[in-house]
Amino acid sequence: MNASPPSATTAPATARRAARTAVLRAEARLYLREPGSLFWVLAFPPLLLAILGCIPMFREVSDDLDGLRPIDIYVPVTVLIGLIVVGAQAMPPVITGYRERGILRRMSTTPVRPAALLSAQMVLNGVAGLVSALLSVTLGRVVFDVALPRQFPAYLLVLLLALAASLSLGALISAWARTARNASAIGTVVFFPMLFCTGLWLPVRTMPDVMARVVEATPFGAAARALDQAAVGDWPAWSHLGVTAAWTAVLTAAAVRWFRWE
């Protein structure tokens, strides 16, 4: 009927990419306008590390930790906390709020699908999580003389896996919560058990046997062990990587299954 000009297939694709970039740029500006959220993502984990590092006992070699100092094993813990904050705390209230207040619907009436808003949020929170991790590692190295991860590619791999697990958890919370307030509440409820699993209160490697086994079956417990191993130069156990990856797959599938645009 109406024959398309030859360029018709490429032009919309380019236009769509430009539109998605515009959405990402606007969301990035908005992200920087949330001081509360920025504090929890970027400042809280390094601050926690700094406070722990001020305790003299944390800077002394401990026999329980195979000749490491507590501060050495708390770097991976704070790295993970930053990743958990972006997924469980920062992202769900934003996405749920966008749905609750009709922002996703409004975007559905434009040539850009509301999925552009979700992917922008994932990208921004992902980047923020990685920056937070970088800050914790740098602080550990510069101030507390913590060795940089010896098995760097593995460390990065675990970091990305844990980030994926955290964002998929965030997506599932966004799918379940009806309101932004609701999302914050669910986020907080899951936040503390996750913190426990990273070994914040008791390093995973010093946990009693049964407890350690349970914790290592959780996405961030397994990631904590894997980061530990990569930090000291070993290739992390496939079982730990597998646990985090499996959780990511399950959480993502559940989020896709239950997510509603309105």
């Binding site: 919309p12 515009a22 966008y98 207040r101 409004r106 434009t110 040539p111």
Partner: protein, 310 residues
Amino acid sequence: MTLASGSAAVHGAVVEVSEMRKSYGGRDVVDGISFAVEEGEIFGILGPNGAGKTTTVECVEGLRVPDGGRVRVAGLDPVADHDEVTRVLGAQLQESELQAKLTVREALELYSALYPHPLDWRPLAERLGLTGRLTTRFGRLSGGQKQRLFIALALIGNPRVVVLDELTTGLDPRARRDTWELIEDVRAGGVTVLLVTHFMEEAQRLCDRIALIDNGRVTALDTPRGLIARLARSTVISFTPSVPLDDEELSALPALASVERREGRITLGGTDETVNAVISLLARRRITAHQLRVSDATLDDAFLDLTGTP
């Protein structure tokens, strides 16, 4: 091509809805609605709360999938051809917001970037009186300013049709009048307007044609004048006679639809014919009519009559 004669009546239609149905939980919210909006007209959808107005336009916008019937926007299916429809149709939704910390300028820039051939947002912002508010965040705008921003966003993609849902709800009378002028401007610029409202004054002032919707069906589709003319009492005459008039004299008046007496004042409902007869009756009997008022029935009256709401 041979079928063209059958659809000739809606040849210039930009929006076509025929026999559309949508139900939620077994309740038919839209129960076989049909109408066609011609290019360049302001078409109103009027009806009581819960009549199915918003659901109808949401199907036109492609936000909802109708259970049955056919919807076309510029010949496209809003569900199957959603992407193309979003390029020709601009929407202002009921109860939607923007990100609270997004400024007016950022919102205008963002939404222009979403369309292939957007309008320049600066003159648009100026026409909508938003120029002084460009650095204000959405969350700090007044209700009227938010509405004007949403109108700007509905127009920014340079659409052929705009759908405006409950546009002036929450605006003060002044802002409402300004908005009406704006919509007339928009139409003068060649854009077709589909307007959902429950304000009679708004519909009467703006719309070329109105579809009156009640209980998910179109109960009347006509010009505002045409709807009023359907009333048995399209004209209302009221006066206080110097000498009492008895019922017998009044009931002899032609085309009389209603008689009401209150503290010596008589109010009659009828047509122009009734008016002429009343005047000659008064002249014949040499009765002085104090405070004689003749007024046309309003769309309000037509609405109440046609929707059967008391």
